[in-house]
């Protein structure tokens, strides 16, 4: 079920009514059932996969909890990781590796008719397998295992974050599921604000930008260099508004359910360096990669060369996590290079005790934004040919009509919104308004969604 679909507009109020009408265990059951229903609206057949993933890690967690032998514990956690990654590999990466192997064999002069899997990618598989797997690793590292299968299943499938995150940690969500939650007025209002803000970001801004972006990326050769730059900027804000919009709805729905979801974004385009960008963009994934991949690989503990290798590997795998295509891997490697370069510069220059003056920081932010945009080119392009044509266009300012001028207005508005003073605290102001006014503003926002949305379109991160 999409957050921006009419089905969700019916599902959420009904879910909230049922959820708050119940107490204790029945409420837990209702949330679990609702979450499975939410997922099954997309394709009920894949709920079996959810159950499997949940069961594997619940059992592994319980076995780990009662096991003290280090080798056996290691074997269990390895089994969990292999099972989870196996599911992910089977559904998401099999055909990618198959195609890559076939291309490689063909290039070497060996024709091979390799088998192909005819399966569709289960929605949200990358998110829930990572979330489920992290639980087992946490238990391996000493966190107590969850005793209730219902609570654990709710943790894995909780509908606001099921298909596109935030990737919740067990220690953050599971305790909340055990608490007897009460409907707090401020939380409910915050939830309303976040849901509508998220829908506005997605349905009005991101979808409007996508019209132009899709056209340019479909055939960049038809556009002038400046038009391509506009498309690149537009995509930077499209993907941000799309994904952060999704997160807003997820966090908002969480608030309405009395649950606190982890924040995923913190004005990423205000980052002045690659590492700061990853502290602001898709925070739950970057911290996941840091805690479960980068640090186990050795992190920055074993010298500069090892650190660089770990950064490359982590980011390349992070890129691959996003999608089964070499362009995603290249995007990950690109960010690995940026992070490694920053590491090198820092090692050479040494830590700076004082903060950058404003003009220097502004320049750095601008530079980092453009580096990020170039990365988005790899992320968005459907193939290498598009990347090449776009790159050629981006450095060609010789001629051609400038199109998408109106898109520039949206892009500028997005950039200005990024610079909106934090002191405005729109969410807090909204919560302080009388409830009736809050509802009226939500109604006005609803009309904006209806009138300004160019078409129902899936969230970008649903494909991952």
């Amino acid at each position: 079920m999409l957050f921006n679909s009419p089905a969700f507009a019916i599902f959420l109020p009904v879910m909230l009514l049922v959820y708050w009408a119940l107490r204790g265990r029945p409420r837990q059951w209702a949330l679990l059932a609702g979450s499975y229903f939410f997922y099954s609206v997309w394709d009920w057949r894949f709920t079996g996969l959810l159950v499997l993933s949940t069961a594997i890690d619940f059992v592994c967690g319980r076995v780990l909890d009662g096991c003290a032998a280090p080798r056996r514990r290691k074997a269990i956690v390895t089994a969990s990781v292999i099972a989870n990654l196996g599911i992910l590999a089977g559904f998401k990466y099999f055909n990618f590796f198959r195609d890559s192997a076939a291309a490689l064999l063909s290039a070497c002069g060996f024709g091979a008719d390799l088998p192909m899997l005819h399966v569709i990618l289960p929605m949200g598989i990358s998110f829930y397998t990572f979330q489920s797997m992290s639980y087992t690793i946490d238990v391996y590292r000493g966190m107590p295992a969850e005793r209730s299968f219902i609570a654990f299943a709710t943790y894995v499938t909780c509908f606001p974050q099921l298909v596109a995150g935030p990737i919740m940690r067990a220690q953050d969500l599971l305790p909340q599921l055990h608490e007897e939650r009460t409907l707090a007025q401020a939380d409910f209002s915050t939830g309303v604000f976040r849901v509508f803000r998220g829908l506005f970001k997605k349905m009005v801004i991101a979808d409007s930008l996508s019209i132009y972006v899709d056209m340019v990326f479909a055939d960049p050769g038809d556009f002038s260099g400046i038009s391509c730059w506009i498309a690149l900027y537009a995509y930077a804000f499209q993907i941000y508004m799309d994904f952060s919009g999704y997160t807003d709805v997820a966090v908002g729905a969480g608030y309405m359910l009395g649950l606190r979801m982890t924040e995923n974004f913190n004005l990423p385009y205000l980052a002045a360096s690659p590492s700061e960008f990853w502290r602001r963009w898709h925070i739950t994934l970057s911290t996941w990669l840091r805690d479960y991949l980068y640090i186990p690989l050795g992190g920055s503990r074993s010298g500069l060369r090892r650190t660089m290798r770990n950064l490359f590997l982590t980011m390349a795998l992070g890129g691959l996590w996003h999608g089964a295509a070499w362009t995603f891997v290249a995007w990950g490697v690109y960010h690995g290079v940026l992070l490694a370069a920053q590491r090198l510069v820092n090692a050479w220059r040494g830590p700076s005790p004082v903060a950058d003056p404003f003009p220097l920081r502004a320049l750095k932010v601008l530079g980092m934004f453009h580096l990020t945009c170039l990365g988005w080119l790899l992320f968005r392009a459907q193939d290498w040919a598009t990347v090449q044509v776009m790159l050629a266009r981006l450095v060609d300012f010789s001629s051609g009509e400038i199109r998408g001028k109106r898109i520039v207005l949206i892009v500028v508005a997005c950039a200005l919104a990024h610079l909106l003073p934090g002191a405005w605290r729109l969410g807090e102001r909204f919560v302080r308004l009388p409830a009736f006014v809050q509802g009226s503003l939500a109604g006005v926002c609803m009309w904006a969604l209806i009138l300004l949305n160019p078409g129902v379109k899936a969230f970008i991160y649903f494909q991952f």
Partner: protein, 350 residues
Amino acid sequence: MGSASPTQPNPLRQPAWIALGFFIALVAGDRLLARVKLPRVYGSTNECRWKCELYESAPRTPDVVFIGSSYEFYGVRPDIIDAEAGALLGREVFSLNLASSAASLLTESLTVRRMLAAGRAPQVAYLGVSPRGAATTRREWLVWGMRGLGDARDLPLTVVADGDMLWESLRMAAFRSNFQFQDVRLMTLNVLVGAPLVPVMKTEHDNRGWARWIGGDRRDLPAWDVTRGLSAMGVDGAALAADNINGRALRRAVDDLRRAGVVVRLLEMPVAGSAAPPGMDSQQSAYAAFLDALTRETGLDVLRPPPGLVPDEHFFDHLHLGPDGAALLSRWLAVDVARTLGASSRPAES
């Protein structure tokens, strides 16, 4: 539901007030938007109705009618058909182009129904089919379907409510979606209550909204803008192949015409070589599947002009023929008209 203690406010009060404010804002928005009048830029109000009146007021029953969308509207010239087919047959031929400049297969079926309701049936009817009309997505067929309903507003119709229809009809209120808000509200009401819809709608087409959005005029757009316009608006090309509202409408039109003894020909109009494929591959294959099913079921074949019959420069926007292109095509079409009329033994009613 959590009970309220004497010192604590009822936790439901807040959501209830929010819900009340929300619905009042929705209703107020509804009332406000109902007053919005949009300018008519392209197409025509009740064009289908106007065409039907043309048919009904014709001095005699036409031998041939062309029913279709903008492809046929721009591409078929009755004056040339009449002259060329008449010369070939050695008798007078009277044809009418009833195609609408903004229409769908649903509109075609409505035109057919109204035409037959007039009690005068032509000998031959050419029904236009096109990938863009037949294998469209839900959003597209709703847009076009709504146009059809608006165009044939005097016909009592029953609209089958679809799961997404309510949402789509709400979204039709978008200024770029070509409809006045009262139409949308009526549609929504009908979908909500499931009542038979007696269209009293008034369409105000604004097909250039899309072109305006990205800047420039429709004719200035490159091929892919025109052909992928709706796809680029967020419409996935994945189509409803053999069973969509347009497909069903076309089948109905074929059945109605045949029942009235009219010879039916399916006509697929050419597009310029410079035009991009319609939407995406999936849309093309859905269209092929749709046509395949239709021709298998009805025994009809699809009349297609030979490739290269009309040079690209005769298309004014990669899809639609200009006057010279229409003349070229009509001369070619006249041969088929003459052959079909010659084979058809039923004399034209006077």
